[in-house]
C-alpha cells in the first residue's frame, strides 16, 4: 500500500507555509514551495492531454480538433461558458462532500445518495407550503431540510466508521444505492404527483417557487452558493480549532486520540457537513432546474464530484476552478459527439485518464529541488 497517509494533502498543510521562518526571502520561498501545487497538477494535465491525443490519433481523429471543440463547447462562447458554469454548480457541492471528510482522513463517496435524498426531502417539504407560504421562506426551508437530510445520510456512514469500524468508502456507497431506492419508492408511490402520469415525480413547485437565474445570465444561483461554501469551509478547516482538530485526526488518528480530541464527534460532524453540501446540491437540482423530485436527480453528479475533489487535492479553494474545468469537458461532450462522430464515452475516457495521471503525479511532490527553498536545496 502507499506509504502516504489516507488523505493526501491533509498533513502537508500542517508543515507547509505556516511553519516557515520569518525572513526577507520568506515570500519568495513560500511562493516557490506553493507553486509546486500548481505546476505539478498542470504538468499532469498536460501529460494526460498528450496521452489522450495519442489515443485519438490511433483511432484516426484529430487531437487539435478535439481541443478546439472542447474550447468551443466549453468556454469559447457566452453560451458555452454559461453551459459550463451551470454544469459546474452541482459538481462544486458534491466535490465538497468528498473534500471535507478527506481532511479528517475518510474517503467517502456517498454524495450521490445525499444529493438524491436531500433534493427529494426539499421537494416534499415544499408540498404543503405551495400557495400558502411565500416563495422566499419556502425556499430557505427547503434548502435547510435538504441539507439536514443529506447531512444525516452521510453522517450515518461516519458514525458507523467511528462506532463500529465499518469502512466508510463502502458504506457510503451502499447508502447511496439504498437512498436512491428510497427516493424511487416514494416518488413512484405515496408521494407521486398524478398530474404527469408518465414521469413519476413529486408535485411540481411552479415557476414562482423556483430559484431564479443570476440577473443578466442564464446560470442559477447555485454556483454562487457553491463558491461561497467553498470559501467558508476553507476558513473552517484551516483557521478554526475545529478544522485544526479535524486535520490532526486525519493525519494521525492515534495521536489525536491520545491528545484527547473528540474524535467521534469530529468524524460525524465532518461527514454531516459533507452530506449537507450534497443535500444542498440536490436542493438546487430540484429548485433551480427540475422543479420537482424524480429519478433524474440521480444523474451522476455525486460520482463526478469525487473526481473533482481528488483533482483539487481536497482543497475547497481549488474546487471551483477544477469543477469548472470538468463542467467544460462535460459541456463540450455534446459538440464532440456531433462534430467528431465520437461516442459519449470519449469524455469518460478522458476524465479517467486525467484522474489516473494526476494521481500518479502525486509521486512527483518533493522530488524536484527547484521547489524547495534555497537553504533546503543546498542540503538536499
Amino acid at each position: 500500500m502507499s506509504n502516504a497517509p489516507l488523505a493526501t494533502g491533509a498533513p502537508r498543510e500542517l508543515v507547509g507555509p505556516l511553519a516557515t521562518p520569518a525572513a526577507g526571502s520568506d515570500f519568495a520561498a513560500r511562493l516557490r514551495a506553493n507553486s509546486e501545487y500548481v505546476v505539478i497538477p498542470l504538468l499532469a494535465l498536460l501529460i494526460a492531454t498528450a496521452l489522450f491525443g495519442i489515443f485519438l490519433l490511433a483511432i484516426g481523429k484529430s487531437p487539435v480538433d478535439f481541443i478546439a471543440y472542447v474550447w468551443r463547447g466549453g468556454f469559447g462562447t457566452a453560451f458555452s461558458l454559461q453551459n459550463t458554469l451551470q454544469r459546474s454548480a452541482p459538481l462544486i457541492l458534491t466535490a465538497l462532500a468528498v473534500a471535507i471528510p478527506a481532511r479528517i482522513g475518510l474517503i467517502m463517496i456517498g454524495g450521490e445518495g445525499a444529493l438524491v435524498l436531500g433534493g427529494f426531502a426539499s421537494a416534499v417539504v415544499a408540498i404543503p407550503m405551495l400557495g400558502h407560504v411565500p416563495p422566499m421562506p419556502t425556499l430557505i426551508l427547503m434548502a435547510i431540510v435538504g441539507m439536514l437530510v443529506g447531512g444525516f445520510w452521510v453522517g450515518i456512514a461516519g458514525f458507523l466508521r467511528y462506532a463500529r469500524g465499518v469502512n466508510e468508502t463502502i458504506s457510503s456507497l451502499l447508502l447511496t444505492y439504498i437512498g436512491i431506492a428510497i427516493m424511487n419508492f416514494f416518488v413512484e408511490g405515496a408521494l407521486r404527483d398524478l398530474s404527469d402520469p408518465n414521469k413519476p415525480s413529486t408535485k411540481p413547485l411552479g415557476k414562482a417557487y423556483m430559484v431564479g437565474t443570476i440577473p443578466g445570465t442564464e446560470v442559477h444561483w447555485g454556483i454562487v452558493f457553491g463558491a461561497a461554501l467553498c470559501v467558508g469551509l476553507y476558513i473552517l478547516m484551516t483557521r478554526t480549532t475545529f478544522g485544526f482538530a479535524a486535520r490532526v485526526t486525519g493525519g494521525n488518528f492515534r495521536a489525536a486520540l491520545a491528545q484527547g480530541l473528540p474524535v467521534g464527534r469530529l468524524i460525524v460532524a465532518c461527514s454531516a457537513i459533507a452530506g449537507a453540501c450534497a443535500g444542498l446540491a440536490g436542493f438546487f437540482e430540484v429548485a433551480a432546474i427540475q422543479g420537482r423530485a424524480n429519478a433524474s436527480l440521480a444523474a451522476g453528479y455525486g460520482f463526478t464530484g469525487i473526481l473533482v475533489s481528488f483533482l483539487a487535492r481536497h482543497n475547497p479553494l481549488a474546487i471551483p476552478p477544477v469543477a469548472i474545468l470538468f463542467g467544460g469537458l462535460v459541456a463540450s461532450g455534446g459538440l464532440i459527439q456531433r462534430r467528431m462522430g465520437l461516442p459519449d464515452a470519449t469524455v469518460l475516457v478522458l476524465q479517467g485518464l486525467i484522474f489516473v495521471v494526476l494521481l500518479t503525479s502525486e509521486t512527483l511532490y518533493g522530488r524536484f529541488s527547484i521547489f524547495k527553498p534555497s537553504g533546503e536545496r543546498d542540503r538536499a
Partner: protein, 372 residues
C-alpha cells in the same frame, strides 16, 4: 390484407414498393429544399443501438438522412436533466437546427417548453402526448404512437399460442404508457382466450440487464410460457426467454432475430411515418402539426412479422385484430375493474386515443402484479 399476404416475402415486396414510392417523394422534396437546407437535431436518452426505444427512432431518422437537403445531427446518452437543454441549445446555436426532435419522456417539462419559448423560430417536437394547446407555445408539439395497440395484437397472438394461459411481462416503471401496454396485452389475450392472465414484474429502471434476466427467469419459473416486456432494451429478456425455451413477443424494435424458435410477434413503433411527414411539411413550407398521436389507424405503429412460434389461428386472429384497430375498434371496453381494490376504473367504452387513458395508473383485474 389477408393472412396469406402477411408473409415475409410479401412484406419485403411491399417495403420495396414503399421505398420506391418514397424515392419519388424524395425527388420532390429535394427540389423544394434546394433553396433552403434544413438541419434536424435529434436527442436520444440512450444509445442508438440498444435494440429498443432509441434504436426505433434512430432507424427512422436514418431514412431522413437520405433526404437531400436535410442534415441530421444526433446526440445520444443525454440524461433528462438540464443537460438536454444545453444540448438542444447547442444544436440550435452552433449547428443551426431548425427542428429539434426530443425523443424521451422527461425532456418535455421544463426543458423543451422553456427552450421553445426562448427560440420561437425553431420547431420542437417531443415523443410523448404532452403538448397542451392551452398552455404550451405553438412552436412546440408532440408526436406519439400508441404502442399499446400493437401490444394488444401481441396479446391476441399470445393468447392463442399459450398453453399454460400465463403470459409474463417484464416492465421497467409503472408509468401510464407501460401500464397501458400491460393492460392491452391482457385485453388482447382475453379477447381470444378468457382464461389468460398476465403476470408482471417491475425492475424499477429502464435498463437493468441482470434484473431483467432474473425477472424473465422468475416469470418462466412461475409458469409463464410467453414472455414480453417494456424496457428500453428488450434484448436480454427475449434472449433469456429463448434460452428457457419459451415463447416471446418483442417491443420497440424487431427482436425476431434473437429468438429463432420462440418469437411470436412484436410491438414496434413506426416513427418513419411521422418523421417523413415532418420532412414533407417543412419542404413545402407548411406549418408542422402540433399534436400527432395515433396507432394503427394512422400507421404510427406496426407489428413485427410473425416468428416461428406463431400458430395459424394466432396469426389469423392477430391480423383480424390489426384490421379492427385500423378501423378504430376500441380496446378498452368497460366496465373493467382494477386488480388492487376491485373498483371499476374503465366505466364505458373509450376510443383508443381518449386522453382519459393517458392517465392510467392501475392494472386491470386479470393482471397479477402491483404498481408499487
Amino acid at each position: 390484407m389477408t393472412a396469406s399476404e402477411l408473409t415475409r416475402r410479401n412484406l419485403l415486396k411491399s417495403a420495396a414498393l414503399g421505398a420506391a414510392a418514397a424515392t419519388l417523394d424524395l425527388g420532390a422534396i429535394s427540389r423544394a429544399l434546394a433553396a433552403k437546407d434544413l438541419t434536424v437535431g435529434v436527442v436520444y436518452v440512450g444509445a442508438r443501438d440498444d435494440f429498443g426505444w432509441n434504436q426505433a427512432h434512430a432507424v427512422a431518422i436514418k431514412s431522413l438522412k437520405g433526404v437531400p437537403g436535410v442534415k441530421v445531427v444526433e446526440e445520444e446518452n443525454v440524461p433528462e436533466t438540464d443537460a438536454v437543454s444545453k444540448s438542444m441549445e447547442s444544436m440550435i446555436n452552433l449547428d443551426g437546427a431548425g427542428l429539434i426532435l426530443a425523443t424521451s419522456f422527461g425532456y418535455y417539462k421544463p426543458f423543451v417548453l422553456d427552450l421553445a419559448r426562448k427560440y420561437p423560430d425553431v420547431e420542437f417536437r417531443h415523443a410523448a402526448p404532452l403538448w397542451n394547446k392551452a398552455t404550451d407555445p405553438k412552436n412546440a408539439g408532440s408526436y406519439f404512437g400508441y404502442l399499446n395497440q400493437a401490444h394488444y395484437v401481441d396479446g391476441v397472438a399470445a393468447g392463442l399460442c399459450t398453453k399454460t394461459n400465463k403470459i409474463g411481462f417484464v416492465a421497467a416503471k409503472p408509468i401510464a404508457s407501460v401500464l397501458s401496454n400491460i393492460n392491452s396485452v391482457l385485453l388482447g389475450a382475453r379477447s381470444v382466450n378468457p382464461k389468460a392472465t398476465v403476470r408482471v414484474i417491475f425492475t424499477g429502471d429502464w435498463s437493468m440487464p441482470v434484473r431483467e434476466a432474473e425477472s424473465a427467469n422468475a416469470l418462466v419459473d412461475a409458469g409463464c410460457d410467453v414472455i414480453t416486456c417494456h424496457v428500453d432494451g428488450p434484448k436480454v429478456v427475449i434472449e433469456t426467454a429463448e434460452k428457457r425455451g419459451v415463447m416471446s413477443c418483442g417491443h420497440n424494435a424487431s427482436q425476431a432475430p434473437l429468438a429463432p424458435k420462440g418469437f411470436i410477434t412484436g410491438a414496434e413503433y413506426k416513427w418513419i411515418t411521422i418523421y417523413k411527414g415532418y420532412a414533407d411539411d417543412l419542404a413545402e413550407g407548411k406549418p408542422l402539426p402540433n399534436f400527432l398521436a395515433g396507432g394503427y389507424e394512422a400507421d404510427y405503429v406496426q407489428n413485427t412479422p410473425f416468428g416461428a412460434a406463431a400458430t395459424e389461428p394466432a396469426k389469423k386472429a392477430a391480423l383480424a385484430a390489426i384490421a379492427g384497430l385500423k378501423a378504430k375498434k376500441p380496446i378498452y371496453v368497460g366496465p373493467l375493474k382494477d386488480n388492487k381494490t376491485g373498483k371499476v376504473v374503465i366505466d364505458k367504452t373509450y376510443d383508443n386515443l381518449d386522453p382519459y387513458l393517458d392517465k392510467m395508473d392501475y392494472l386491470l383485474e386479470g393482471v397479477i402484479g402491483s404498481t408499487t
